[in-house]
């Protein structure tokens, strides 16, 4: 369990690090601006259309938000800073994937808890089922078996 949480954390950190590694350049090459705008736009939710990124949406507001992202990147923002800029205006809602923080802990850890509880429950059931012996035969049962074996039972 702890190992799993650790790998989860490491995964999340490595996902964020390429953006951190980027230096604030004096002028960002145009092809970089384009690809980075694209990448950042894919992580930002369109606020007028349910569950679409501003990259996918052709709503006018999404278009203007893409342009704002591009402007921020051209101005020397890192990808994270550009994202943070919009988050500051629209809140966590604008992020396509919810950040791991106090009010989202259940969201992130919930499935894990379910899996752990589920498997504990499943395993404990398996064990009790395997060790449970069938009830002893009653006198009546024995009589019927004896009858069947001797070929007298017609039932």
């Amino acid at each position: 369990m702890r190992a799993f949480v650790l790998t989860l954390l490491v995964l999340m950190m490595t996902a964020a690090s390429p953006a951190l590694a980027q230096d604030v350049a004096e002028t960002v090459p145009p092809e970089d601006v384009k690809s980075r705008t694209e990448a950042v736009s894919k992580t930002l939710r369109c606020v007028v259309c349910q569950n679409q990124s501003i990259y996918d949406s052709n709503a006018p507001l999404a278009e203007d938000m893409r342009r704002l992202v591009q402007k921020r990147i051209e101005a020397g923002d890192t990808d994270d800073e550009a994202r943070e800029y919009l988050r500051n205006l629209y809140g966590d809602y604008v992020l396509m994937s919810p950040p791991l923080q106090l009010n989202t802990v259940l969201l992130w850890v919930g499935p894990l808890i379910l899996v752990v509880f589920g498997s504990v429950w499943f395993l404990s059931r398996l064990r009790t089922q395997a060790t449970e012996l069938p009830a002893d035969l009653s006198e009546e049962d024995r009589a019927r078996i004896a009858a069947a074996l001797s070929g007298e039972d017609k039932a």
């Binding site: 006018p60 507001l61 203007d64 938000m65 500051n88 205006l89 629209y90 809140g91």
Partner: protein, 181 residues
């Protein structure tokens, strides 16, 4: 064995509760981050007078109602009579933000339906609108004299919304300002 009976029912009830709460929420209403923040800095053209520029400091000094609208916005027509009334009663200064519109369309719209705005900011490319965290029109902000955003209304202002929600905010700001002076 009773636990194994109760547990699934319990889990089910918790799910039902979560979903019931979820159903009562309007997913198009995004909680605003803007309350008690200062107005963003901006400089945009005036709708009526393209050479003239409107800046954030033009919205300070008195209680101001900032209303985001567009000639393309259907729900804006619904609140228009309320704004016209407010403008006639001179309750607060009303400033319009004409969002993503064509200048001539906006002017024709105001000509046709009446112009409640003391001033109209022309925001064709959502510059100010995004900085204020707007998600749709109409949206209405109440700005206090120091230029702080105190209230945001998503959707049309009806007479009832004004009376129940916005008016109390305006009165509270007025009382504060009086106490301070």
């Amino acid at each position: 064995m009773t636990l194994s009976r109760i547990l699934p029912v319990g889990v089910f009830l918790v799910l039902v509760a979560f979903m019931a709460i979820g159903l009562t929420r309007d997913p198009s209403v995004i909680p605003t981050e803007m309350i008690d923040r200062a107005l963003p800095q901006f400089e945009l053209p005036d709708l009526h007078n393209p050479e003239s520029r409107v800046r954030d400091e033009d919205l300070t000094g008195e209680i101001t109602l900032v209303n985001v609208f567009g000639s393309w916005c259907v729900a804006c027509l619904q609140e228009h009579p309320t704004l016209m009334d407010l403008s006639r009663q001179r309750t607060v200064r009303i400033v319009g933000v004409n969002w993503r519109d064509k200048r001539e369309d906006a002017l024709a719209w105001l000509e046709k339906h009446g112009d409640p705005y003391g001033r109209v900011i022309f925001d064709a490319e959502s510059d100010l609108v995004i900085e204020m965290g707007v998600t749709g029109a109409p949206e209405t902000f109440i700005i206090d004299p120091t230029g702080r955003i105190r209230y945001k209304q998503i959707g049309p202002i009806t007479a009832e919304v004004w009376r129940e929600k916005i008016r109390p905010v305006v009165d509270a700001i007025a009382a504060e300002t009086e106490a301070a002076s």
